[in-house]
Amino acid sequence: MPEGGRTTRVPLVERVLEANDEIAADNRVELERRGIFSVDLIGAPGSGKTALLESTLRALQGRRRPAVLVGDLATRRDGDRLARWCDQVVQISTGQGCHLEAGQVRDALGQIDLDGVDLLFIENVGNLICPVGFDLGQAAKVGLFSLTEGADKAAKHPYLVQAADLLLLNKIDLWPHLSFDRSIFEADVRLLNPRVPLLDVSATTGQGLDAWIAWLER
């Protein structure tokens, strides 16, 4: 205790991520004003986020006018892959950041001509944990799991399962080669989020893509 001083406890209730959330709210207002449906795609490294977006963008050619923001620690490889199918792709290099933040999305949106866009994909950094709690201003949060991650993955990541507006189970084409107990996976998902839609997809074979695109276009 400092001499002659006093100690005061100051109650507050302020969200720790309020600074991020304020920028996210601005992003959300802007995207809604422009009629752009935006998706924050969250999944583990190697779950197939980029592959899914490649297949999706290819299928959407001529039907929608998408733009893509891709977050990664380093390299432009994901952005380059997606640029084959979409002419509005911005790569966000986070350096050491394990998730995207609203300010990065705001800055990246400034590099796109949003007048021509009706659909925005945000491919988050490969990570099932950190990105879930950072609002970017998206309309919907999509969680991508894949068969190779094992059936317990949903139970291990309850935040993503509860927060998701849609869950995708990718690499469904590998089903014959793996012992993935789907009843465990689905039971865990339902316990955590009774109403979230769950779609099986294969980014490589195209299985399930129609249902995913129908959800995007609704």
Binding site: T7, L12, V16, G133
Partner: protein, 117 residues
């Protein structure tokens, strides 16, 4: 990747506390409340907090973490209780009572030593 998640939270919290810190006096304690959904580990968070606040005006401020647990409700017998983990069986035999939790991440109080005159 231990602590990576906690590190970005600690950084955001340190910036927030410094915005609130008075011009004179010292922040002695920082209290936060964290919902179970966040998956934050208090000890890792404290370690990251020390690293992030080192060499800042708020170095030495102690971080107190209130971790709010999961709330478990059994649809078979109606019992409700709290648990640190989401997947627990009920004493009545139901293997899958429903877990719910919040994702709050709030700064709830600062304790400040004010200097006299």
């Amino acid at each position: 990747m231990l602590g990576v998640h906690e590190f970005s939270i600690a950084e955001a919290l340190a910036a927030q506390v410094q915005r609130h810190a008075p011009a004179t006096g010292r922040v002695r304690e920082v209290e936060i409340s964290v919902g179970a959904l966040r998956g934050l580990e208090p000890e890792a968070l404290r370690m990251c907090w020390e690293a992030v606040t080192h060499d800042t005006p708020i170095a030495g401020a102690i971080l107190q973490v209130e971790l709010r647990p999961w709330s478990i409700t059994c649809s078979s017998c109606g019992r409700t209780w709290t648990s640190p983990v989401p997947f627990v069986a009920c004493a009545c035999g139901d293997p899958a009572p429903v877990p719910t939790a919040g994702d709050e991440l709030d700064l709830v109080a600062l304790t400040i030593d004010e200097e006299e005159g």
